[in-house]
Amino acid sequence: MKIRLLPRITRWHPIATTLILAGTLAAIARFTYGLGATTNLSDEFPWGLWIGFDFLGIGLAASGFTIVAAVHLFHAKEYEPIVRPAILTAFIGYMLVVLVLILDLGRPDHFWHPLVMWNPHSVMCEISWCLMLYTSVLSLEFAPIVLERFNILWPIKWIHAISLPLMIFGVLLSTLHQSSFGSLYLIVPNRLHALWYTPLLPVLFFISCLASGISMILLESLIFSRGGRDLLPTRLRANLAKVIAVILALYFVVRVENLLARGAWHELTTVTYFSLAFYAELLIGFVIPFGLLVVERVRNSRRGLYAATLLVVVGFALNRMNTAITGLESYPAQTYFPSLIEIFIMLGITALGFSAFSFIVKHLPIFEPVAVTPRVRQEAVTARPEPVFLTRHGGDLESS
């Protein structure tokens, strides 16, 4: 079956090619002329768009650990069909972030230094290690899909043998570095605006990544179901939507309670650049989608769910960009707007990610784990059919 990526976007290929080419040229410029000439970063604003992109990429890739934990550790087996898309999303997301990090480093040739030079007091050190280890875990989780395709089956057994500790390790690593991205800013209480700075940053980062990760995978499952078959039956999609609503509510309560407790809510009583940015992220990413997702009709409808999860993802992006850029523009009063080269590199890498995703789903059994890989299924799953496996004609077994 052919799956087309985002059929609404016409001429995807020329657009992606252009973006990737532009990004490549921008990257060449960055390496040739250095960061100063090609970015708008400065001593007062040493981190910019690319760090925001890292937060975004890692956050949206959170499905990799949430869905794996739900299906393989908590045995919610009915969600099996979205495990592979989730792992692929995470794998690509992490690869992109590693790429951006290397471009962002002043000394890309020293990128391996955290391997041998440690500083246990540094959040950045912890994040580097978590990123490296988790990317390895993801590679191992992803490897069987590739190996299957080329019929190399012996390493799969080995990977399966260590899969349980591997998955637990992956979930723990994700928990650590998803929250650690928030911890990065714990040390700048004097710089980060009070609407975003809180000792709870790591907790908030973790909670919000759960919602955005699941939203991302729901979005994907909706987009890729347009070929006529549903990846997940409506009931399970609605269940996931309910989970998102609960997480959004939890986030909202923790965030607002914390604002009230620290007195930072005063900042919200006046209309400023910062209070508007705050309202935007909270309304778009949390309040509105929560309002939508508590309605059963929305949860059961494709379009409703599409809109709500898209809002969560956009609001999440706003939140991360606000933390990484807007919130830091308050002190010392310093504005930052990324340079064209920074933007082109980011767009190029994003296009690369989408292209890689669409290429891989075309050539590897990502969205049809049940139908395409009977051999592995025979050796792994018993004869008892799971209630949600798809039939050839679409819809799940329960409804047919």
């Binding site: 002329y33 970063l41 007091h121 723990l172 714990l186 040390i187």
Partner: protein
């Protein structure tokens, strides 16, 4: 070093000596930069000399992922450009905005006051302290300088505000300041507090071992319970059908 702002006449000899010692271009500069490790800025009639504070619990040292920055017993916070990966976390985190980055280079490093570590090793005072003609900057053991500062404040309580900047700020710094007016009016950040900044991070980082151990056991436990549950369900289902139970494993 103790810097008594009441004694500074703004002659800028300290910057000249610093530039000579560090072989930097000799032009006069008003702000810290790649070529000015110390600089005098004027607030009303006062000259404020800024440089790396050489904190006792340095924020930059704590954030550096590869330990390119280090604090030595003698006081200096030293930087090793060979280790640096260029993440610029030190620029982001330094509460005094001290490190400056070689943005125009393709192999950039940070630049900042080195506290004349080579001179200290030879038993010499830093170049700036040695050059200061008025005694506005004096070099010595931190404890003795603190006593001296306290003595000056108590001898002339009308001349100074009763505060030694750097005594406890961000956990104490090697640079100590005396001022005739409140420090907040001189561009010193009043919001930094007395707790060393790295403690803010430690509150989160110290939970890492707990997350790993407790989380690992918990996830393992949940797996075991849910796995057992589906095994039992499979067994019961097969009992009804009279088949042999089969273990369920992940596909």
């Amino acid at each position: 070093m103790l810097i008594d702002l009441t004694l500074c006449v703004g002659c800028n000899v300290c910057q000249g000596a610093c530039k000579e010692e560090n072989q930097l271009p000799p032009s006069e500069e008003k702000y810290l930069s790649l070529t000015a490790y110390t600089a005098l800025s004027k607030y009303n009639d006062l000259y404020i000399r800024r440089m790396c504070q050489h904190c006792d619990v340095p924020t930059c040292v704590s954030v550096c992922p590869v330990a390119a920055l280090s604090k030595s017993e003698a006081g200096p916070v030293a930087y090793d450009g060979e280790k640096c990966i260029g993440c610029r976390y030190c620029l982001q985190a330094c509460p005094y905005h001290v490190p400056k980055y070689e943005w125009s280079s393709t192999k950039p490093r940070i630049q900042k006051c080195k506290f004349c570590a080579p001179r200290l090793a030879k038993g010499l005072p830093p170049a700036c302290a040695e050059a200061c003609p008025t005694g506005a900057t004096i070099f010595g053991e931190r404890d003795e300088l603190l006593l001296e500062a306290a003595r000056r404040i108590s001898a002339e309580p009308t001349k100074y505000v009763p505060r030694i900047y750097g005594k406890d700020d961000v956990g104490g710094t090697s640079m100590l300041y005396l001022s005739p007016v409140p420090f907040e009016q001189l561009g010193f950040d009043a919001r930094l507090g007395k707790i060393p900044m790295p403690m803010l991070t430690m509150s989160a980082l110290s939970k890492v071992p707990n997350v790993l151990s407790v989380g690992g056991v918990m996830l393992g436990g949940i797996w075991w319970i849910t796995n057992r549950r589906s095994e039992v369900a499979a067994f019961e289902a097969s009992e009804k059908k009279g088949e042999t139970p089969e273990h369920e494993d992940k596909p």
